[in-house]
Symmetry: C2
Subunit: 103 residues, 2 copies
């Protein structure tokens, strides 16, 4: 999931989809790469659950998957929580060893 957003192009696509659903061709127009390349990126994003797709006539519309985004957010929050805990722990330990503010 994180690796999926690791690629800048995929990030750009996901970024674009965050503004609303879009068909493949329309996405490709705003990017400096070919349409098949966009398709391949979309496949990756879809496989990790960050986007969903559905047919709409002859085109295929992609949009961000809220559930996938939630997973990503939760994942990031874990880092956040643990890092915060580590900070506090370090701070208290630091406090213990120099509550003498002389140096």
């Amino acid at each position: 999931m994180m690796t999926a957003l690791g690629d800048p192009t995929r990030q750009a696509i996901f970024d674009r989809l965050s503004d609303g659903p879009s068909p493949v061709g329309e996405l490709a127009e705003g990017l400096p790469i070919s349409r098949p390349a966009v398709s391949q990126h979309l496949k990756v994003l879809k496989d990790v659950g960050l986007v969903t797709d559905h047919r709409e006539g002859t085109r295929r519309v992609y949009q961000v998957d809220g559930a996938g985004l939630a997973v990503l957010r939760t994942y990031l929050d874990q880092f956040w929580q643990r890092s915060l805990a580590a900070f506090e722990k370090a701070a208290s330990e630091q406090k213990g060893k120099n509550d003498d503010p002389d140096d």
Copy 2:
């Protein structure tokens, strides 16, 4: 920044550092790769501002940078916000065209 955490190994390192500061050698022991490889990953993480380092005797201790983590979080929140807006927009548009809950 996102590309920095895109690599699984770097993710593992960052994950480990989220539990508290650690010197390079100690990190390398818990990973299936060589110590120089860990050093290289740490350099990447440091360059994007996700970790900081300081000397401690003969070892170099790394720890997650709270500011960098905050940036990452803010970045993710942007996706979240915009996606949410897109969802609501789509929902209201959908509602307009079939407020007849028959089918």
